[in-house]
Symmetry: C2
Subunit: 348 residues, 2 copies
């Protein structure tokens, strides 16, 4: 490793100071274009690679972004977050950032890990998920001006306040509305919604899409809402109760786990056929031929890395005055799409 070219080698060959080489790497906007070009040519020629540890000390940057790895792993309810982690790793690498994973049992443990990672200079920023109203984590990060972005809106008690930090989310309300409107279009007139217990920002938002579709319909379709926790077993029970209603021809669910429960209940009532729509387009939905609302996770990840990188750059622009950013410029709601499969059939 000792024969590797150093910053000094590059400076000497390019006929500039070491500070200039350092600027070319970390603050290229400070360097005249002609110098930039010359130094970059030397860097390429001698295959100079800045030592990360030295670069970290010099720039106070780690070029690493932290993300929490969920500890429960079932491949259905955690599917979207896993998919997001794949996508965000690719998106980060495209702009020369890597993802560092940690695990934490609760918000307090997570904050403790951040405190350590940030004190040690181990990460430049964070990607969060599952933020909620009065989340101690977003407050902690905001107070310390740590660059971060959340996948998911900061739900407050009435689901309206957009919060004052960067986030990217998928419009679950629009997705469920789309699914419900499609069922109305197919001729369904008795459509139930199987949701999570009240008070979940994500769940209430999705329910809103169902209610909006019924309210906007020129058909006189009454809402029929049932709730259960996220387990397949409870969903099967509640769906079985719903099937006691002979008029019922369709069930819209808040998640693929509940759609799986509903599907199990319908199978046990064979040959009766009931349309089912899930949410998240998991492998289970594909295996069971269930329609489902898909979150465009790649697009979410791209926006997250964009927003995060802008904040990291601003935090490190020691020489230029960073412009204050309107939080609304770093908040975006992505539209989901409906994947239609055999399960959204016309009523008999």
């Amino acid at each position: 490793m000792n024969s590797r070219p150093t910053l000094a080698t590059v400076a000497e060959l390019a006929g500039v100071s070491r500070q200039t080489v350092s600027n070319v790497i970390s603050n290229p906007h400070l360097v005249a274009p002609i110098t930039l070009e010359r130094v970059r040519a030397v860097i390429a020629q001698v295959d100079y690679r800045p030592n990360t540890a030295a670069r970290r000390l010099r720039t106070q940057r780690s070029f690493v972004v932290g993300a929490r790895m969920t500890t429960d792993f079932d491949g259905i309810s955690g599917y979207v977050l896993d998919h997001f982690l794949h996508a965000v790793t690719s998106a980060a690498q495209r702009v020369d950032l890597h993802i560092l994973l940690y695990v934490a049992d609760d918000a307090e443990a997570e904050i403790q890990i951040w405190d350590q990672l940030l004190a040690e200079g181990g990460v430049d920023g964070l990607v969060l998920a599952h933020t909620h109203a009065d989340d101690p984590r977003t407050r902690w990060l905001s107070e310390r001006k740590v660059p971060f972005v959340a996948f998911g809106r900061p739900w407050n008690n009435n689901g309206t306040h957009p919060g004052d930090h960067a986030w990217v989310d998928v419009d679950g309300c629009a997705g469920v509305r789309l699914a419900t409107e499609r069922l109305l279009e197919l001729g369904h007139r008795r459509i139930a919604f199987l949701g999570w217990p009240e008070g979940s920002g994500v769940g209430d938002d999705r329910l809103g899409g169902y209610l909006a579709a019924l309210a906007a319909s020129d058909q006189d379709v009454e809402p029929l809402v049932r709730r259960c926790d996220g387990t397949v077993r409870e969903a099967t029970e509640v769906a079985t109760e719903l099937l006691a209603d002979p008029e019922l021809t369709a069930i819209v669910t808040v998640s693929d786990s509940l759609a799986l429960g509903a599907s199990t209940a319908v199978r046990e009532c064979a040959p009766r056929q009931v349309a089912i729509v899930g949410f998240d387009d998991t492998p289970v939905a594909r295996a069971l031929d269930l329609s489902s609302v898909a979150q465009p996770v790649d697009i979410v990840a791209d926006h997250c890395i964009d927003f995060l990188r802008a904040q990291i750059d601003a935090a490190n622009a020691r020489f230029s005055q960073a412009k204050p950013v309107n939080p609304a410029d770093r908040q975006i709601l992505i539209q989901p799409r409906l994947v239609e499969r055999a399960s959204s059939r016309s009523p008999n």
Copy 2:
């Protein structure tokens, strides 16, 4: 941050040299127990946290381990690797290591990323998956004495050479043998094996378990092997052909994707019932009530981190003479278990 205690603060309070404090942190075996205790008490008292960047320069260690994130994401065929990534993140954190993720399209791209990460001191070692015979990646790492461990054996052309590096794997042969023996015990006498194309180390190993179970049986059961690529669609087609044999009562498959295909074929032949066993115990197997061979991924991850950490410690034991390690001491085959569900039923 300037009020944070430094190495010098700790040295002064403990009445030792800065080198001694540094040794307490990085090479505790060099420090007398009574001194170790005193310095550690001061570190706890003042809440001293070594700056990672400075520590990296001093110890030449990053306390970070690299792992490749797969770029294809379908939640079935990639399920075990995702599960492994969860488990290895937890296992690493227990010994103060973090996982750094990168993506790479092929072996060459992966080696290029390693070259950069290692040159920059960004990682201390690597966790690999999907190694194979004459893998240029394991050769590259071995030549450079980079600490690494593979999830999976280095399959060679006849599946026997254990390789000369650390690995942890699950005994797929034993898992499929278990599944096949159980079907024989239930009374099945015409059992097909639906596998991958010849030449896949993992696939041939699993097929071996099926053949071994039949050979060891006192029943006169003939092997019936069919192969197809990993797609659900092709598996459905091949399984439909198999079902033309009216004697057939069970299909053992090399993966849950193929089990899903077989299950689709059987459903289309209803009311005929055929037992099916998959491999990997994915959410799809759970959703379809399919029996499946489960890989104990948590145990695999624990062993991987053990083996990797031992190598990293040895590579950094600059003061003590590292003992040469017999590769066989860092190679372990974990036994899978059979998860029995409704799909492994007795023949009619």
